[in-house]
Symmetry: C2
Subunit: 415 residues, 2 copies
Amino acid sequence: MNHPITRMAPTHAPMGQFPVENGELVIGGIPLTRLAARVGQTPFYAYDRSLLRRRVADLRATLPTSVKLHYAMKANPMPALVCQMASLVDGIDVASGGELKVALDAGADPREISFAGPGKQTGELRQAVAAGVLINVESFREVAELAKIGRETGCPARVAVRVNPDFELKSSGMKMGGGPRQFGVDAEQVPELLAEIGRAGLTFEGFHLFAGSQNLKAESIVEAQCKSYELALRLAQSAPSPIRFLNLGGGFGIPYFPGEHRLSLAPIGSNLVTISERASRDLPGAALVIELGRYLVGEAGIYVARIIDRKHSRDHTFLITDGGLHHHLSASGNFGQVIRKNYPIAIGNRMTPEKKQTVSVVGPLCTPLDLLADRMELAAAEPGDLVVVFQSGAYGFTASPMAFLGHPDCLEVMV
Amino acid sequence: MNHPITRMAPTHAPMGQFPVENGELVIGGIPLTRLAARVGQTPFYAYDRSLLRRRVADLRATLPTSVKLHYAMKANPMPALVCQMASLVDGIDVASGGELKVALDAGADPREISFAGPGKQTGELRQAVAAGVLINVESFREVAELAKIGRETGCPARVAVRVNPDFELKSSGMKMGGGPRQFGVDAEQVPELLAEIGRAGLTFEGFHLFAGSQNLKAESIVEAQCKSYELALRLAQSAPSPIRFLNLGGGFGIPYFPGEHRLSLAPIGSNLVTISERASRDLPGAALVIELGRYLVGEAGIYVARIIDRKHSRDHTFLITDGGLHHHLSASGNFGQVIRKNYPIAIGNRMTPEKKQTVSVVGPLCTPLDLLADRMELAAAEPGDLVVVFQSGAYGFTASPMAFLGHPDCLEVMV
């Protein structure tokens, strides 16, 4: 019954993507305090352009060259970032008419834009047809609407079918396929939908399968990609025309919480080589696509807030910052997390501290939910110092209730 | 081991605050479909002016006339609603410089505005001093800053001390006092803070105690008010001048989830009569204040979204609407709830249905978090019908990530 081995508490994965110089974090070549001065205010989000390039380059080096890389801009729709990504990847995936506008403005080729979403409105479908982008059809209603738009405008819609697979992505942070879902059309209904697409005269191009997101286990992603490929192959038998587009989804995760490790890309790359070779025989002319959002941009971004007060309450120390939940809902633990855990956080201008202290970092809101760090060991810090929340490049700024409690706006910068 | 008594599943409290005519919900005298036409779009929030008036009247009838009623505008800062509330209540509580502006624009008397928040910035403190409002001081730093502002401007700040009590509000949806907190100053540090306030030459007016929010048990609120009063009385002995203001907090809840019942006001009213009588002897000249946000406005508001698709997936039916998590984060279960539960929801244009059906109501976002109703029995509904989320007058619009996924803006209307 004795346990002589002491177990270490799990720690955050090292945040080595940003260099440290003279004790300061360096973002896009600029020391943090200078960047804050350049931005002219705190709080802000900063995204490092060189890290976006490096992440895409690493993926290109690991995945077969025949596989196309798409950016799912829901992860971060900042226009300047989408411009940058449009120049790096092979296509952009949009989730609304609003996102479609940003992608087109960014110069993305409409032929390489695809549009998915379980509740596309008639106006959005019209926009998408007019733009000439690929529409991932998710219901019988959408096919009927697109047929009508085609008759009225003379533009046949380009469509792929978003399939709700008959399996789930294991170990996924968020399951988006398997069982009853609002996303896509159940695999077993797809043959009927394909017949409908053929009758409606739409231009059929392929399939979109997306089993889940935020997965850190390469073997689960490999399994999902294999199953997705097999399912697509089976469904292709009912297609009205050859498959030209096969989106195998993404789901590549990044480490947020203590004990999580970075995803190993190598097994995914090897598996995609195999699938790619098979596809060249089974589905000649079909482009294989991997769609990534968070994985491309999440680690390249930080959220920065300034400490405005330091308070002791009953033997506990609170650092109170000018930013919080209203700008970064996920870091507060209120966006899909069942149990709140700390994001990786540092005092960005005291990266090589002599003294450390266990503190909680909170925002300025009148709610106990406004918590950025719960009893973390950080560099001993004072008002004026800069709190940095890492892993904030995806689902940060736009996934937050900015208007809550009427505080000043947050900014975003690309460096 | 037998359980012959079948236990009924808990149900939502009846949402009788809105009348039904010809099968339609009526908001501010306007049938829902006509209101949607008047607004010109879905989704929208609608707040019923007559229900705001009725709620305040009910409170006035139950609480002693000597108790002042404040509106905590963080619950709903829509300018037109704040104008309405300013004419109904005795004061407005603001939580930021931004809210202060809205309250002043609404015509609230600065003498009856109070400003609380754990991270007040220097600029906000300057605004508050210039406006002449009461500042609920929450740290020693704020006292020093206010002393400096006073020396520079010649305006002595009006201050109350926000106390972090040495007890918790039992059965509270959200605890905001007791233990270590970022809110207020620990009761045991208050005498020292009061001395500091005296030395700094600030105008001391009283205390603000706020133990927690969203409480549905009258006896817990009564207990917290009694303890808050006793604590204030004790702390008043160290005050540099007589107490003129004593905010006993609020914490009155409204029923959101199945099995929850409306708060019984009567015992709270009786208790406040007793406290009020005691205060007239113990603290002559002190105004007792109850501060309410959610309780005043929550039940007067609905969120309305239109069904744009109806989808069957593996024997489950989904109603897909044009609104969702991005407009109403709380109803999706992602704002402070540990276990997701359904808000009360109805098909607002089919309130006397012949046929019902168990469905899930989801929004248009590409995330499984975008869920407004999980397997609820609702009137059988079709695209075009209007989904209504009740209890949406507080922490709805501004507590939601509006920009998420680039969908059209939501509107708010007062009727």
